[in-house]
Symmetry: C2
Subunit: 351 residues, 2 copies
């Protein structure tokens, strides 16, 4: 697979996380493929950043990459070992520690997007300090974030928004950025969450930023660019989510998108983990996003819908895509299926 | 002045800041009365929590309280010295350190709401550790904040919202809570910012909370109460503020207000510090607050308007209050002026 164009800012010029690459993917002792979806995402969307994989003997999943010890990976040019699994609770079990220490000793930085912080584990901190290696916790935002200015920046911006959490905003943004790049557009995927940051090699986990600075962090994420440059920004949460709407609003205000795509999963009836809250209609999300987004970009408009049809047959998916397009008068597609509908969605981005 | 009923939750039951009282107010070396407005607010709104005041010889402002050394204040029962000044930059100058150390040695905790943290100053940390005293930085939120549930809580809630920052949301909430208490209503002021926390003795600075947890912190701030209990919640920012709208939205969603009052300063034409952004109309704030607030409380409604007429003559203020009432068909008043218009606003709270 070809890869999405990588961000070009350096570690020196912006307060975003900038990751050392290429990576060695660490699979821990994972048996359940569902817990290794970060590693699979890295393989699929950032294959050129991944040199190989490593895990404990107990691991029974593979991303299909060459199996390399940390020392072998370092010898081949790897700069970081990335924890590619998300176990329940987001913890780092004691059994992983010797492997993380081996990676540090081999000269690799360690990258994690878990709730538990690498920097909170004394033995890792001691080893990293002694070897001059970095422990990069993607859920800890950069220290020097600014307050949002609200001042319009040059360049085009597209934001993926959602009817709920966890239904395809990241992969939609990746697919749109890749699709535009394939058409010769100068497009960059901008990561606003920890998995996205691993894929892009750069970004800020907006939900981990102090509320006062969240819109400012979003401004930093898609900096001033050439007028025809396209930033495709990974959305977070939903304006209709009772816990996380503020994160979505900060990202909307700071991103100042010209265009947005609503991401929706047809089978989802209530907000994930909040069964008293119905998933809003796509129409309601469009209306609310325009109404709130116009504060920092009066020209904001919806250009289409991304449907997550992973659990549907091709026929059912095609039918839903056609009926949604007809109902809304906007292009609808499942970017993971591609096809003519997705090309129409890309046309709408460029129109 | 009588005081607003104080919150009753203890340090043990909630993750809010709970302050030791009574206070000795520290005025530093302040010459400019404008920088001592925190001390004046404490005197006016929480006089029963204030035993006395203390400052350097260079200080030329007074809150009119008995002048007591930290040791004298401790002997009279003071439990904390509260920094009652906000100088430009929010710094703690080296000249204050000996006085802060004297307070710690006298057995007082230190409370501050500044950008610079007491806990970041090694000599204070060392002394506090040795004497078993607390350094309480109100801009550092409690550590164990939950994600918002969105589940409706019993009790009545009123939130003050604004057309901008810094125009009277805190004092409106204090005045409403005091006015309701004077009518025999079981009402509690809930503080969402550092000055409000000093006044109430308890609260959470919502703007300092990590974005993911901001609505959850707001839920904690006004916990389940008796059905006829009234929480009057201090608002933050504005939904139309390009930097802080997310803070306002988190507070709105987590507070689940039944009622809200829009706070407005008539002379303010553009958002403070963001001259490209016009101050929205009161009507626009009502519409947006209802539209967003109904996610967690479908019964939300606006019951009136608080006008900050501090810079107007009595006649001009009366005229504006009357014309605003007529235009909106809602009670308008300046709570700092009181009078019949304010009584009508209180009636609307109880209707």
């Amino acid at each position: 697979m070809t890869h999405v164009e990588l961000p070009t800012r350096s570690r020196e010029t912006g307060s975003v996380h900038a990751l050392p690459a290429p990576y060695l993917l660490f699979l821990g002792d994972t048996v359940e493929p569902g817990f290794a979806k970060t590693a699979f995402g890295l393989r699929d969307w950032a294959g050129d950043r991944c040199l190989g994989e490593w895990g404990l003997p107990a691991a029974r999943v593979t991303a299909g990459l060459p199996r390399l010890t940390p020392a072998e990976a370092a010898a081949k040019g790897a700069r970081a070992m990335v924890i590619g699994v998300a176990n329940p609770g987001g913890v780092i079990p004691p059994t992983w520690i010797p492997e993380l220490l081996a990676a540090i000793e081999a000269g690799l930085d360690i990258v994690a997007g878990m709730h538990v912080q690498l920097n909170g584990i004394a033995v890792l901190r001691e080893a990293a300090g002694r070897r001059g290696r970095a422990l990069i916790d993607l859920r800890v935002p950069p220290a020097d974030l600014p307050i949002a200015t609200g001042v319009k920046r040059s360049g085009k911006r597209l934001l993926t928004v959602g009817t709920d959490c966890a239904l395809g905003k990241k992969y939609t943004a990746l697919a749109i950025a890749r699709g535009l790049s394939a058409r010769g557009v100068d497009a960059t995927f901008r990561a606003s969450g920890q998995t996205g940051i691993m894929l892009a090699g750069e970004g800020i986990a907006i939900d981990a930023v102090i509320a006062d600075f969240a819109a400012g962090a979003a401004e930093l994420l898609s900096p001033t660019a050439a007028p025809d440059h396209f930033d495709v920004i990974e959305g977070q949460g939903s304006l209709f989510h009772p816990s996380y709407a503020a994160v979505s609003l900060a990202l909307l205000h700071g991103s100042q998108p010209d265009l947005f795509i609503v991401c929706h999963q047809p089978e989802r009836e209530t907000i994930l983990g909040h069964s008293a809250f119905p998933v809003p209609t796509i129409e309601a999300v469009i209306e609310q996003t325009v109404m709130l987004g116009r504060l920092t970009n009066p020209a904001i408009r919806c250009i289409g819908v991304s449907l997550n049809t992973a659990d549907m047959t091709q026929d059912a998916a095609d039918g839903l895509i056609a009926s949604t397009t007809a109902r809304l008068g906007l292009p609808a597609a499942d970017p993971m299926r591609g096809g003519p509908a997705f090309e129409v969605l890309l046309d709408a981005c460029q129109a």
